[in-house]
């Protein structure tokens, strides 16, 4: 792995590892109880005791960010799973079968793409109600269209490769061609895209929680933390900017690793 020699990639991996630990076992990283208010310690700037400072209720912002990882990252991951499963299967069928089936499927995909992802998520959220699950479903559905398109174009690209035609003239059956040639060669770009999509999904999920469509208030979702700090942006800008920066750093890390998987650099 030549990637391991690149500092940006390694840093990205470390950040992702920390984020995963925070999602699965926040108590390992948190320094305070994320819900405990200390009335005397309101709106404190970052210090050794409160790494990111405290909010208007005197809660430790750092610990809230750590505990928020689970909600934010898990719904983003779930969204990617929804997008990949729906999109990849549809794209695979469309590309491999081709002809009329392909034409009809792709017209539906066109529509999924015509509606901006955020709006699609909003429809789902408005219909299903607020919360992490409906967010994941909405964001995932919004991503499924472009996934289907990428998967299909990969399949079509590979299908037109000479080695696939060669396999056919060797007497290999269609299902075997799909399994032995098309899937292995399509895997890498699709995985890379799924990884990139994770970055986008984290952004979409945090945008929607910022707008107030996530879990109800005390829950420390990242977007909700930024939103809660908005009222103090004139006096205590760190309150919303620090969680916002955490989102940025995680997304950058995910994108960096995703590009490396895609062999972009």
């Amino acid at each position: 792995m030549t990637n391991l020699r690149k500092p940006g990639f390694v840093l990205g991996l470390i950040i992702i590892a920390v984020a995963i630990v925070a999602s699965l076992a926040p108590q390992l990283l948190a320094t305070h109880d994320p819900f405990e208010s200390v009335a005397t310690d309101r709106l404190l700037p970052p210090s050794a005791q409160y790494l990111f400072g405290t909010d208007n209720l005197g809660r430790d912002l750092y610990s809230r960010v750590i505990y928020g990882a689970a909600l934010s990252l898990l719904s983003a991951s779930l969204a990617v799973v929804v997008g990949v499963v729906v999109g990849a299967v549809v794209g695979l069928i469309s590309g491999f079968v081709g002809g009329r089936t392909d034409f009809i499927i792709m017209r539906f995909v066109d529509v999924l793409i015509a509606v901006p992802g955020v709006l699609l998520a909003l429809i789902v959220v408005a219909s299903l109600g607020f919360g992490p699950l409906s967010l994941a479903l909405g964001v995932g559905l919004g991503a499924a269209g472009s996934f289907a398109r990428v998967m299909r174009s990969q399949v079509i690209r590979i299908r037109s490769e000479e080695y696939v035609e060669a396999a056919r003239t060797l007497g290999v059956r269609a299902p075997a061609i799909l399994v032995q040639h098309v899937l292995p060669n399509a895997a890498r770009p699709v995985i890379a895209m799924a990884a990139l999509e994770l970055g986008t999904a984290i952004l979409s999920v945090s945008a929607l929680t910022f707008l107030g469509f996530g879990a109800p208030p005390p829950a420390p979702e990242w977007g909700a933390l930024v939103s809660a700090g908005r009222d103090y942006v004139a006096t205590n800008p760190g309150l919303s900017i620090i969680p916002g920066a955490v989102i940025l750093v995680v997304v950058l890390a995910v994108n960096r690793v995703a590009r490396a998987i895609g062999g972009d650099e």
Binding site: V115, L128, F210, G212, A234, I241, G244
Partner: protein, 331 residues
């Protein structure tokens, strides 16, 4: 005469595609709203009056008729479709105002920041690409090329809040909120331009890179053409051509982005209206907005397609020799 026929042959399928996307968008929204669990009207009323709102069934039926949520699904589907074609998108459950009117009022504010954002985004993307192309040192080129991946990763609410805290609160140069003056549109437009510009940059810069390594640029260099002329005469047009195809995609991005940006800057507009509608579970408004955005997206794509037919000599309509001659080249 043949010209007319050629144009018709080119345009009609594209027009059909446009209509299809609009109708299909409507259908998709309809399906999502009616087949996801839950009664939209009850949800909306609960959001309005609190979870414990009790409505008597007769009143509920009357409300259904008022908001166009009565009758069988087929009746609703076709009824609303025909109404929408005539410009009637129904009545908001939360405010009682016709949706068309609400959208009409909010639309100009959003168009203002969206078009500014598109302008900022695209010009800075072209500018950064040119600077990276002309950069005498590799490190500078690398640095410039790092800006756009960054732009894509920044959450719009973060960049918006940062801009507010620096330019509105610290420096006091520009207003932090409102939609009345042109000044108030600048910060939201920049916020929105960041992801849009970055997205455009990705496509444009890779097209430039591809063109830069192309044999025809080598030919130009071997002709003695200076770098700036190579960029403007040989690279720019060839790279812009594939880039304009993502214009439709950018419109979608802009439409989604206004939701966050208008909330951050407390501006009136389509985005904020949509957010409020979702908070009120006002399904009629959401449906109307999505339909309008889908139609704009399809329209932009239609225009891009037509423009392409004009600009690119390889797809230019009518005129020119239909070249069988191309078969003469070996590869």
């Amino acid at each position: 005469m043949t010209q007319v026929k050629a144009w018709a042959g080119y345009l009609l399928p594209k027009l059909g595609q446009f209509l299809f996307v609009v109708v299909a968008t409507y259908t998709l929204v309809f399906v999502l709203v009616h087949f996801l669990p839950g009664d939209p009207l009850i949800a909306a009323l609960a959001a309005k009056g609190g979870a414990s709102t009790v409505i008597d069934p007769a009143e509920l039926d009357a409300l259904r008729v008022q908001y166009g949520l009565d009758g069988t699904l087929w009746q609703q589907y076709f009824g609303h479709l025909i109404a929408a074609a005539q410009g009637d998108l129904g009545i908001s459950i939360a405010t009682g105002v016709p949706v068309t009117e609400m959208i009409g009022r909010a639309f100009p504010f959003s168009v203002q920041i969206a078009s500014l954002a598109l302008l900022f985004g695209v010009t800075s993307a072209v500018l950064i690409t040119f600077l990276a192309y002309a950069a005498p040192w590799p490190w500078l080129r690398q640095l410039l090329l790092q800006i756009p991946p960054f732009g894509i990763a920044v959450p719009a609410f973060l960049s918006g809040l940062l801009l507010i805290s620096v330019f509105a609160f610290t420096l006091g140069w520009l207003p932090s909120a409102g939609a009345r003056s042109f000044d108030a549109a600048i910060l939201p437009a920049i916020t929105l331009a960041l992801p849009v510009g970055a997205l455009f940059f990705q496509v444009f810069s890779s097209a430039v890179l591809e063109a830069q390594n192309s044999p025809y640029v080598f030919t130009a260099v071997a002709k003695g053409v200076p770098p700036r002329r190579i960029f403007t005469k040989h690279l720019l047009r060839n790279a812009l051509l594939p880039s304009i195809t993502i214009l439709g995609l950018l419109i979608g991005y802009l439409a989604g982005g206004t939701a966050v940006v208008e909330t951050v800057f407390s501006r009136d507009g389509i985005g904020r209206m949509t957010v409020n509608a979702v908070l009120a579970r006002d399904i009629n408004v959401i449906q109307g907005v999505v339909l309008v955005v889908g139609a704009i997206y399809a329209l932009v794509n239609l225009l891009v397609d037509v423009a392409y037919g004009f600009i690119d000599p390889r797809t230019r309509i009518g005129g020119g020799v239909p070249s069988r001659a191309r078969l003469g080249a070996k590869k």
